[in-house]
Amino acid sequence: MSLQYFGLQKPIFARNGWEIPQPNPLVLEKFRQTEELVSIQTVELVDELLRKGKTELHIRSVSAHMYDCVGLIFANRRSWIDIEHIDNILQHDGYQPVSIDDLVSGDVVVYTLAKKRVHVGLVTNVMPAMGSVPNIRVLSKWGKHGEVEHRLEDVPYYLGEPSEYWSERAPHDLKRLF
């Protein structure tokens, strides 16, 4: 089904020209939230998580516009893109896997749950590790809610665990030159 149908949705293309699938606009048509509602829900969400000990969460923003974690990074907050397409997007945009030790800000973290890719975040800061624990900050959109900046591993249970790291930088050892 064409993405442009009904004129409700504009196509989004990967770097090599592949058209990134978006949800059928019929599905999103009747889902409208106000920023006020998104704010309330996001605060409730973060409060709930804070009570469970994830204490370093920072709400960057809330928006009533429909975009998700993939849309945040790969569509400039313009679109909802199902996480099931992340593998194709990384491939068509020329991303390469990197090790956690090579991460720099701007790289991408993919979270998996039982080997299924369920979430993606953007690295915002890489600080010296605290012992064996990585000290990495990530910005990601949590579903229908706001953008949250958090520690690498501090995401709700069903957003999985950080397990893949990707970068479009080439060559990936560039940072060693500086």
């Binding site: 599905v27 048509e29 509602l37 709930e48 199902d82 996480i83 709700p156 069903y158």
Partner: protein, 160 residues
Amino acid sequence: MTLSDYFEEIESLEFQIQFTVLSGLSSVEFALARNSIVTSMLDLAKGDVLLVQELYRRISYLLPKVAGETKLSYDESIIAYLYCLKKTDPLWAYRASEIIWDTDGLLWSRWLAYKIIEFQHQVDASLNLSSPEPSSYPINDTPTYPVPKISFQGILMETA
């Protein structure tokens, strides 16, 4: 636990928050399949027509409350019930999808409802039944998307 106990759990803020953060219908279904409350309720309802009908009634009960909700919209609760209906009884799942489809303010539930309705149309089309083709859906500048008339024949044949 009784079905009422499961309803209480599934309509709690804690339950809904777990699923509201996800980034696609595939992830939501994947998470629901791994949730112990949902899978236990599913086991309870399987093979029990009355309990399956209770799930449908619970969806009917929640839908009018969606618009008035200021925290979470029961979207995650409704999709949990619809997911169980889909797994237990396609006919009731289709009926529920129809009323969910007409409710504003839902995302996951309407997404799954759309998938169920679309699947049924494909089944009907493959069986050459009277269900309308996608191309005959109303298309105009200010679209309204009424759910096409139900054809249960495809469902019954599929589940036979």
